[in-house]
Symmetry: C2
Subunit: 366 residues, 2 copies
């Protein structure tokens, strides 16, 4: 049982289709798989953006694709950093050639949107980027105000929703997000390996106005859509790179299961699972690191009590087939990270974890 | 039955492990999967290079990783172009910032190594890149002489062996290849999605001497090996991106099957399958486009006879569950591409294709 920050356990129905008969990546049947994938992914992102696909790499590849397509040398970017994954966005933006300014908050905290506005008033930027669900601290950064501020200052707004998508609403069009990137695992319920992204019209217009060639051929959005189908001519498809067929089967099935459950039900299930877990932790005398007002439901950062050996507990859990993760960076040894994602956002499965944790803690304290 | 240029049919035993229980990407068991993968991949590439892993993207991502790590703005590269995939290497090198000179040959032909030497004498280059097995024309570019010439002129030698690896010998160390990239499918026998690469000591030294930051964070070799284990400290592993666990299970199993069969046996099987197919084609009055002296065994470009409808034949085959591919670029409508890769390098399976082709051609001519 994978209760870490990811990979999460894929849904059993998703695992079943991994081995479905392979077809060619230009086979008419596979074209219909691609169409269904794009349409279901748009519904999940809450967008009508044509440019909405799973990129052929992990969530990190999708995010890098966003940065390398939207930014080029000479551009300015403002990146909100509330933990490691924000730092990583800043690093990717820097490698894309941009001058990057970061707005930082202490671990567990979030960024006051007014600070982003201040930064944009100081100097215009082409892009504002934030992490929606910071996997290293368990904090949720609200998007609405920053989206509005970015738009008011004529900046694009890009969001890392790797941990949030399919667990809490992302709502790309309603919020006003120009580009977003997630993953195929975590709350999505497929194995890791794909990086779902969406690019809105303002992002595409910015890409068309680039002064330099995008340094990546593999993740260049205009090339990738030669294969996925251009806007206005979605049936006109040509080879770019060989699609990861088996991974796409799995991802397609995961999207179907998400919509069969229904988005409101899925979000409620993740919320309820979190509340069940927090109540159970309370009964064990354990507390969460992240302040309640901006806690994520799917990623829980649990304080390790005084006198408890981090590594011994995690290995004792692993011996029972249960994975939780160490704290990240400065929180290593001080906290555990517990993911309640996809099929694991389930009280019965969470009770298995809580029971095991209780037994191990009691044994250690003896 | 996938007789196109890829994806090929994965081995059934490989498909079986796709759905094996998922573990965390930092789980001790998974670390042993990674170690076994690296060690088996080194044997297949014929190298002792520490930096030998499957990158988390398709074969194209691995090749782009090679170009973006080895080249930076201001560098010179010479690329041998004998078809589309050579053009693509040149395009990737250009996007990496290099000034690219191409040495080209007509479709079906290969490059005389003396022409590469001429180009290097004209002006030094940091990198010489070639495609070993050109999937668009079915031609095999011998590597030994170009490797020697590159080394004599103090240039790195990079090879696209996407179609050749596990079908014909690549022999990285014996030939003197500094970087090579392949895929997980085709002759490898796993689903598409991973890009096995190897970087030798001269390549790593060149990367360490870069003047600029590598524009890709995702494919930056020095970062990727934080996770796969640094040279000299292979057990010291830290998070980079979440590994595509299921794809790596499959790739690991494919490598095991390759070594269980034995490399000489596997190469002989691909060669024999090719000869069986060519004999069968001859009996049907069909011929190959690529001159015999540099034909690839695993990728056969078949001339479409006068009066035969390309698309109708391919769709009639597809209706029987058999895929072959259209000719690429200028060869579209004039040739078919038939891959005999992995499990399909088998006379019994090839006979199914030949029998179907015969029936369809007879029916069309009636």
């Amino acid at each position: 049982m994978l209760f870490g920050p990811g990979p999460s356990n894929p849904h059993p129905d998703v695992v079943d289709v991994l081995g479905a008969p392979m077809v060619g990546h230009l086979d008419p049947y596979f074209m219909s798989v691609m169409d269904g994938t794009m349409s279901d992914l748009r519904r999940l992102f809450g967008t009508t953006n044509h440019h909405t696909i799973p990129m052929s790499g992990t969530g990190s590849a999708g995010l890098e694709g966003i940065m390398l397509n939207l930014l080029e040398p000479g551009d300015d970017a403002v990146v909100a950093v509330i933990g490691y994954f924000g730092q990583r966005l800043a690093e990717m933006a820097k490698r894309a050639g941009a001058t990057v300014r970061t707005v930082e908050a202490p671990l567990g905290q979030i960024i006051d949107p007014a600070r982003i506005e201040q930064e944009l008033k100081k100097k215009q930027a082409k892009l504002v980027a934030v992490v929606h669900a910071e996997t290293s601290t368990g904090a949720c950064q609200p998007l609405e105000d920053i989206a509005r501020i970015a738009r008011d200052h004529d900046a694009l707004f890009a969001v890392d929703c790797v941990t949030s998508l399919a667990g809490i609403p992302v709502d790309v069009d309603a919020v006003g997000i120009d580009a977003a990137g997630s993953c195929s695992q975590k709350c999505m319920g497929a194995p890791p390996g794909l990086g779902p992204v969406t690019f809105g019209p303002r992002a595409i217009a910015a890409i068309e106005k680039r002064r330099t060639l995008c340094p990546t051929w593999y993740l260049d959005i205009s090339l990738v859509f030669q294969y996925w189908g251009k806007e206005g001519a979605p049936r006109d498809r040509a080879f770019h790179h060989t699609a990861p067929v088996a991974s796409l089967y799995a991802f397609r099935r995961a999207l179907e299961l998400i919509h069969e459950e229904g988005l409101p039900n899925r979000y409620a299930r993740h919320r309820d699972a979190h509340e069940h877990f927090v109540a159970g932790l309370g009964a064990l005398g354990l507390s969460l690191f992240t302040p309640a007002e901006h806690r994520l439901p799917m990623l829980n950062v649990v304080n390790i009590p005084e006198g408890v050996d981090d590594v011994r507990v995690r290995f004792a859990l692993l011996e029972r087939g249960i994975e939780i993760a160490a704290g990240f960076g400065p929180l290593k040894g001080k906290a555990w990270r517990v993911g309640l994602m996809g099929v694991n956002a389930d009280p019965a499965r969470i009770d298995v974890l809580l029971d095991a944790l209780e037994e191990i803690l009691v044994a250690q304290r003896r």
